[in-house]
Amino acid sequence: MSEHIVQPRVYITIFLALMVGTGLTVVAAFYDFPGPLNAVVALTIAVIKATLVVLFFMHVRYSGRLIWLVIGSAIFWLAIMFALTISDYWTRTWFAPM
């Protein structure tokens, strides 16, 4: 597979999107969304920004399947760590002795 050269205009577009995302997340932080939505909005914007960096600045969009597999494994193991630990803390009080 030959190397794909990402053109500067792609980098500029991604750069502008990241700046807009930063502005949005600051503005959104001062709105009082119902329930836990403030955290959901902040994290959604952060995940979108991180994905743009990974796909374009880090060239993963144009990389081979092996790179995708390695990144997928990172997300998978991170999910295991979070899910199992949080499920422990979350359910500890469910069966507390009366």
Binding site: E3, T22, F56, F57, F82
Partner: protein, 250 residues
């Protein structure tokens, strides 16, 4: 000699090609893969701290909101912008080596380093502000233990700690342990990144890179972007969550 082997040897003519690789392309891809495997270990390392943050935030939401609101949102946002610009200049450094514009590479690398140093400078200002407000947790600095002044209702002094209802100072200290651990590890990664950039800059200065051989620039770029991504998550989690409750002083 079979034809296939002959072409392989033609490709092998580049002086940077190591003997265990077929060609420059395979060498470059193997390097990128190795860097990604390293970055996975970094993701798991920072992941542990993000998990600690999540659990304690869930347990002590009021204290975390109070502590978070004491951070300087302007400096945090400016630093986010600085890092994003530095990621852009880093990406341009990679592009310029791919098309063989060495002068542009050198300029982009220097800009990236200046922006990285700017980030660390602003971070140092923030750390100093926390020192002034007695917010360094525990006895990290023995002569200045954690002892912030708590504001009374109606007091608007920005240097005092404004606790919202249900928050206590002890759990605010926990937030600052996590804050200094995470931003401190991030800053350490920035310092290492500046060291890497220095090496890459010297290599570029000596005309080591070309469209055929630029793997070191690309791999260092992966590291730099990774450190940027960590900050993309740290900024909202540490500075932003809870801003909408800023007026609700208990």
């Amino acid at each position: 000699m079979p034809e296939g082997l002959a072409t392989t040897h033609e490709h092998a003519s580049h002086p940077a090609l190591r003997h265990h690789f077929e060609n420059m392309e395979q060498q470059r891809e193997a390097g990128a893969l190795g860097m990604w495997v390293f970055l996975v270990t970094e993701i798991m390392f920072f992941g542990g701290m993000f998990l600690a943050y999540t659990l304690y935030r869930a347990q002590y939401p009021a204290a975390f909101v109070s502590a978070s609101n004491h951070l300087d949102i302007t400096l945090g946002a400016v630093n986010t912008g600085v890092l994003i610009v530095s990621s852009f200049t880093m990406a341009m450094a990679v592009w310029s080596t791919q098309v063989g514009r060495n002068r542009t590479t050198i300029i982009c690398l220097i800009l990236t380093m200046i922006l990285g140093a700017t980030f660390l400078g602003i971070k140092a200002v923030e750390y100093h502000d926390k020192y002034n407000d007695h917010l360094i947790p525990g006895r990290l600095i023995p002569s200045r233990p954690f002892s912030p002044e708590v504001a009374q209702p109606g007091d608007t002094d920005k240097h005092k700690l404004h606790l919202i209802e249900g928050a206590n100072v002890h759990n605010v200290e926990l937030f600052y342990w996590i804050y200094f651990a995470m931003t401190g590890m991030h800053a350490l990664h920035m310092i290492i990144g500046l060291g890497i950039m220095t090496v890459i800059l010297i290599m570029a200065w000596r005309n080591k890179f070309s469209p055929e051989y630029h793997a070191p620039v690309e791999i260092s770029g992966l590291y730099w972007h990774f450190v940027d991504i960590i900050w993309i998550f740290l900024f909202p989690l540490l500075y932003l969550l809870g801003r909408h409750l800023e007026g609700h002083i208990g």
